[in-house]
Assembly symmetry: C2
Homo-oligomer: 360 residues x 2
């Protein structure tokens, strides 16, 4: 077993060792097939079984009702920023966007190419350090779009916003999908790039309600219509087979952790420990408002950029990697996705206490 | 080392054992970084070095001039069927398509959503069993598009078609990219899904000339403009890092085989052996015209569908997998991509001779 360090990267991010080991053991031969997992035809029995299992596990974990499709796409959340409005918005229609960070801003920019965007709320006034309390909705939005967790700014919606009745709620859940139970029926469409909680980059999970699939215009490019994926179980063309396989392994691993409730408990423990220290009045303080804090990305600063940089360097030497905050916030960011081990939080706390003692 | 069988799959397809072994050894820790290859941030030094190396090796192998971009995209050739016309065709303009099989037909269907398609040639009259000799070009096509190798029908362009001067030539090279030297300057854009000669599914290689990047409308969705990838070295959003890493390993492996000239020799040897037997007047006969045969996908039949089925079954039992032909051709298809071992061709020939002897 190689010597692994603590990887606080915001994504691509740490994956469970058991999952990596299983993928490794199937790279030259998937089970006893004599063909590596990456080399199996996507139309063959061996891969098809894994593909179906990944979908079934996804449905089981999140309790996805039968009127929702589970789709595996490519292009990341960034392509979804465009696919959502291309399928659901058009000139003359308005979509409501909740602007809580860089990613929702980017999503809104793509939507404006298709129709009108109404900003239902924004926290830009304080550099996105909070989740706005309420929204002002437009008269009859085609849909409402929000980003459940803001990777860069360390904020997270405690629960889904209450969109007006019958307005399809669309969520970019890239950085907190399956980190806690989800009430799927509240949403019309949830999408997430895999590379934080679900696997390697290059797969996008889309959970979409029947009626939204049908709403997309058939004039759109085939690969940009949700129905193309829904009709062919994400096998219209060659899917990213290895990524979907790893996602299936992750789903199995989540199940073993006690499902979404189990990982939520662990995530609350991990982030809670760190926030408690940040609230203790030492050298480090959190950047997000207390009621808006993310369980996935804990952002904090000393208030002195050079001290921040020094700490990031010290931590890196101690085997705590990827702690440098995004340039738009500065300071530090500890990404604590599902697979991040609790011992890594303890190690970070130790490094912080040690640094504080030496700086005092 | 697991017991590997001969995998004749048309894609995803066999990969070199050395490449798989190296990927396997870096899954839990890339070198001594303590972080697995899939877990490294795409903005970190370790991944960036691999990303740049993959591009540099690609340029070196194919002798790509500096006025071409090498891009790593997602969505497979199927998304390129749409991205090409979305960027380069519009209402009022015509693009010329050479229709030599199912994939070029699909590409033309997507182009018709954007502008006019002129069929410059087609081999549909004989179920695509040949490459047409000449083309009739439209007056001033925006571009000319062809599929260099037809995976399903076992045909391949011996050389790029001679499009009129100044007409950008665009090639879907998904199933024969880097199987032989390429004269890049003849092309304006070459694209290829990785899953045949270049790596796992989920990465698309695009080689595109400067001026075509600029031609795309800026109103297009950000992720559908080539300039988005060209300006940010395919790092505008999180790329499929693992797939690009494996592609880099494949490039290294090709270099060790003597580059594109080296793999071409090996490919000619492999396919040549098989075609010689198919031409020898035994039970099996090739389906493609002699002057149009593919070095990548060798399609053949007995002329008796039940005998074909029997042979596929017998071969499978002998450890020769994936030989069943596509339903639109029937019979058998032996895909002999770069990584397919010569010994596998010998094993197939032995199985064919044995079957012929028993059927005689």
């Amino acid at each position: 077993m190689p010597n692994r360090i603590y990887n606080f990267s915001a994504g691509p991010a740490v994956l469970p060792v058991e999952v990596l080991a299983e993928a490794r053991d199937n790279l030259l031969s998937l089970g006893d097939t004599g063909i590596g997992i990456m080399e199996h035809s996507h139309r063959g029995k061996a891969y098809m079984a894994l593909h179906e299992e990944a979908e079934a596990l996804c449905r089981e974990l999140a309790g996805i009702p039968s009127n929702y499709h589970v789709l595996f796409l490519q292009g990341g959340a960034s392509l979804q920023f465009s696919m959502v409005p291309m399928n659901l918005l058009k000139s003359g229609l308005t979509a409501d966007y909740l602007i809580t960070g860089a990613w929702s801003q980017k999503a809104a920019i793509e939507a404006r190419r298709c129709g009108t965007v109404h900003v239902a709320c924004t926290s830009e006034d304080r550099n996105f350090c909070y989740i706005p309390k309420g929204c002002t909705w437009s008269a009859a939005p085609a849909y409402a779009h929000f980003t459940s967790n803001n990777t860069i700014f360390g904020t997270q919606f405690a629960k889904a916003p209450d969109a007006p009745a019958n307005v399809p709620l669309i969520c970019d859940a890239s950085s907190d999908i399956f980190s806690r139970p989800l009430e799927i029926s509240k949403y019309a469409l949830i999408y997430a790039g895999a590379q934080k909680n679900l696997g390697p980059s290059g797969v996008t999970l889309v959970i979409i309600r029947d009626d939204l699939v049908e709403r997309g215009p058939k004039e759109l490019a085939t690969m940009l219509q949700y129905r193309t994926y829904a009709e062919d179980h994400s096998l219209y063309n060659t899917p990213p087979t290895f990524g979907i396989y790893v996602m299936g392994l992750i789903f199995k691993w989540i199940k073993k952790q006690g499902g979404l409730a189990g990982v939520e408990r662990a995530n609350r423990d991990k982030a809670g420990k760190l926030y408690r220290h940040l609230d203790s009045g030492g050298l480090f303080r959190p950047t997000a408002d207390a009621d808006s804090r993310s369980m996935m990305n804990v952002t904090f600063v000393t208030g002195d950029a050079s001290l921040d940089e020094k700490f990031v360097g010290v931590a890196k030497k101690a085997g705590l990697d990827g702690l440098k905050g995004h340039r738009s916030v500065g300071g530090m960011r500890a990404s604590l996705y599902n697979a991040f081990p609790p011992a890594g939080v303890d190690a970070l706390l130790e490094a912080m206490r040690d640094f504080e003692a030496k700086s005092a």
